[in-house]
Amino acid sequence: MTVPEPPAIELVGVAKSFGAVRANHDINLRIARGSIHGIVGENGAGKSTLMSILYGFYQADAGQIRVNGREVAIPDSRVALSLGIAMVHQHFMLVEPFTVLENVILGAEGGLLTGPALTKARAELDRLGRAFDLVVDPDAVTGTLSVGELQRVEILKALYRGADVLILDEPTGVLTPAEADHLFRVLRILKEQGKTVVLITHKLREIMAVTDAVTVMRAGTVVATKATADTDVAELAGLMVGRRVLLTVEKGPASPGRPVLEEENLVVRDARGVTRVKDVSLTVRAGEIVGIAGVAGNGQSELMEALAGILKPVSGSVRIDEQKSAGNPHRVRGQGLAHVPEDRHRMGLVTAFAASENAVLGYQSDPALGAGPLMSPSAVRAVAEAAFAAYDVRPPDVRLKTALFSGGNQQKIVLAREIERDPVVLVVGQPTRGVDIGAIEFIHQRLVRLRDAGKGILLISVELDEIRALSDRILVMFDGRIVGEREGGADERSLGLLMAGIDGEAA
């Protein structure tokens, strides 16, 4: 009689609290050796905390961690690595000016001189690269690599340290569909070679495509673990939020009116002088949502910032509501253009401020806020309270520091601020990034309602599902250009090919 093989990782009754917040409680989880195990859940469901416990970044308050059937304590990431557990972070932990080789030996430099370690690493990288389809030039400077290659370096780094269990945190967020496909191929090879992969993602399709088993987390607990073959996207989504959600948005046909945002031959350079938007022309009409699909970094951000007046275009023209754009964020708002930036922490909010103060950001010269140069806190709070009520922001306390709100509620603060000012056209980037499913639904409905009120919306998102669900027309941006236009419901495959720079018609 054979003893069944112990799971690669087993968690029993793991709990972790931060102050009064129970980030994880009573977590029981078995991850089988040589499998790809998905972990899904909304933001704040406790996925990252759980993985941080496994990786030794946090210590559990209670419970046991067993690796290969043996109970272990993981006080820091060094111990995690020695147990064969490695993490590939969402934001790569690489030193950009270093070569790939130097990055790989980071933390395992060996003795006083790095020479022997580098020689050994070069041979090992070559072997790993061929074994796992992870070929990267070891002498390339890391900063010059594409995002997909950077991720390969991260995985190589983990494998070089002898990792048996690889934890990947939202690995496809920054990848093109082609790069993501390649990543999945690598994951399957890893599995074939006996490695265990833990995949944290919020993209349910990826879970379905690549995992063997999936664990759903909600509010700090495990709500279900299923064999992937026995479940489907709708069930997983339902488990994540505890109720069935609409993955499509209910909306009637658009009735486009006059043009409210026109740009012609726009060319935009970023701060480093690189041309990021190359001769883009587009029109958004009143009463329609125009989506711009594309992999992050193909000029969408610069396009948005140029429309909002933050970046000065090199050439080309922008017209807002049939008037020439004033080309300054403040005056552009006066012309009726509202802008929800794609990164609320970096640009859309001052997180150190009270929420009320963020409810007037960009509209600080509104005469309603006070006489002359004065700005009355009670007037500011009144604006914020109205926005909070209209958008059901929780907790409903406008004096609270903005950083204390969850991602979804922060995003609602930004959206309320921009939409409640009754703009003619709304330029909105990544409206639901880092937002839980309940809030996604709410935000999508608001955008459709704004469209139905006869406003023009330019939607920029890297979430293809979102673009497809909301847009009446879809433009695909690649390498600074609009490379194609499709109808609202266009199929994913043809959009994906366009996004990867492959002409949809030819493919």
Binding site: H330, V350, F353, E357, L361
Partner: protein
């Protein structure tokens, strides 16, 4: 991108500064002990010297006036995310501005006519001196910390030249201007309020002006659109550009306000006390302003308290050096240094422990 854990207000603004100061005094006590004096006696003398009698209080408030102005100067720049190390030089230039006005009119008009013009000149000269580093940062990317430090040296050199070769009183061997006539002297409070017993303390009308400045800066920062824009720019420059707040405009305005406040410090020292322009009249007040602003959390109330603390250290320290000969002037500088070290550089020493203590109990 980990946000600071929020502490209850009284901990952040009360307990932490108190702990820092207590620590500074404990370590100072050890130093006093090491040189063979009695620390308890030293504290007694220091506190008595600073607050124990009318004249002592008057001196404490006189020094505090300087620190209120320079503390506010550093604080307003700090709200705009700018670290102004140049208050020392801006104050010196402010002194030049005030002096030029005094020398021009002091023989013809009473002090209350001179004061507004001198204040405007002091503010403008200080603002002008701060405007150059501000412009260099806004337009040329030269880091303001470096340029304001360099401008302190330039200010010292300029003042040296002017006092030796241009403004020096005829026939004087000292690098000083002539002594102002009555029209260039701010009356001390002991003359205006003879009943409150300030002895011979030089605290003067500039102290009242400092109190007005505290209120004005509070209104500016928390009750005006400009203050909002300065704070947005300081807390998140990217959000500021998104909100249409011009980086150049805010950098220039915040730094010029800062320079103007630093310049106003000279009213106290030049018109209120020295009654002539002399070299190094700032005596490090511009640098103490940095500690005052840090310790006072860049808030006018905190700045007032911190300025009074440093004023007390100056005055009580002088008393201490007089009473206990083992404790020299240099020892006082050591104690001030320790306060700056604990209140400024080690500001976060106790924060993590307090966060554990209070955040767990109180929820958010």
């Amino acid at each position: 991108m980990r946000a600071r854990k929020a502490l209850p207000g009284w901990v952040d603004y009360g307990l932490i500064p108190l702990l820092n100061v207590t620590c500074a005094f404990l370590v100072s006590g050890l130093v006093v002990l090491a040189i063979g004096a009695d620390p308890l006696e030293a504290v007694q003398i220091l506190v008595w010297g600073a607050f124990g009698f009318g004249e002592g209080i008057g001196f404490t408030l006189f020094y505090a006036t300087n620190f209120i102005f320079t503390g506010l100067a550093v604080a307003i720049a700090f709200h705009g995310g700018l670290f102004n190390i140049g208050a020392e030089g801006q104050a010196a230039l402010g002194g030049l501005g005030a002096t030029l006005v005094c020398l021009a009119v002091d023989r013809f008009v009473p002090w209350w006519v001179t004061l507004p013009f001198a204040a405007i000149a002091a503010g403008l000269f200080g603002a002008g001196w701060a405007a150059i580093p501000a412009w260099l940062q806004a337009k040329r990317g030269s880091h303001i910390v470096i340029t304001t430090i360099m401008f302190n040296f330039l200010a010292a050199a300029l003042m040296g030249y002017l006092l030796v070769d241009v403004l020096v009183a005829p026939g004087s061997m000292q690098p000083e201007t002539r002594t102002f006539a009555a029209g260039g002297r701010l009356p001390p409070l002991r003359e205006l309020f003879p009943d409150i017993g300030l002895g011979q303390a030089p605290v003067n009308v500039a102290f009242l002006l400092a109190l007005v400045a505290l209120v004005a800066i509070w209104v500016l920062v928390w009750r005006t659109r400009l203050g909002y824009e300065i704070r947005v720019f300081g807390a998140n420059p990217v959000a500021a550009s998104y909100a249409g707040i011009s980086a150049t405009r805010i950098t220039m305005i915040a730094m010029m306000l800062s320079g103007a406040l630093a310049g106003l410090m000279s009213l106290n020292e030049i018109m209120g006390y020295q009654q002539r322009l002399l070299l190094d009249f700032t005596a490090g007040a511009g640098f103490v302003g940095i500690a005052v602003a840090l310790m006072g959390r860049a808030h006018p109330v905190g700045i007032f308290l911190a300025a009074v603390l440093f004023g007390a250290l100056y005055q009580g320290g002088a008393e201490l050096a007089f009473e206990i000969p083992e404790i020299s002037r240099d020892m006082i500088v050591v104690i001030q240094g320790l306060v700056i070290l604990f209140a400024g550089a080690l500001e976060n020493l106790f924060r993590p422990a307090l966060v554990r203590l209070f955040v767990r109990r109180g929820g958010i």
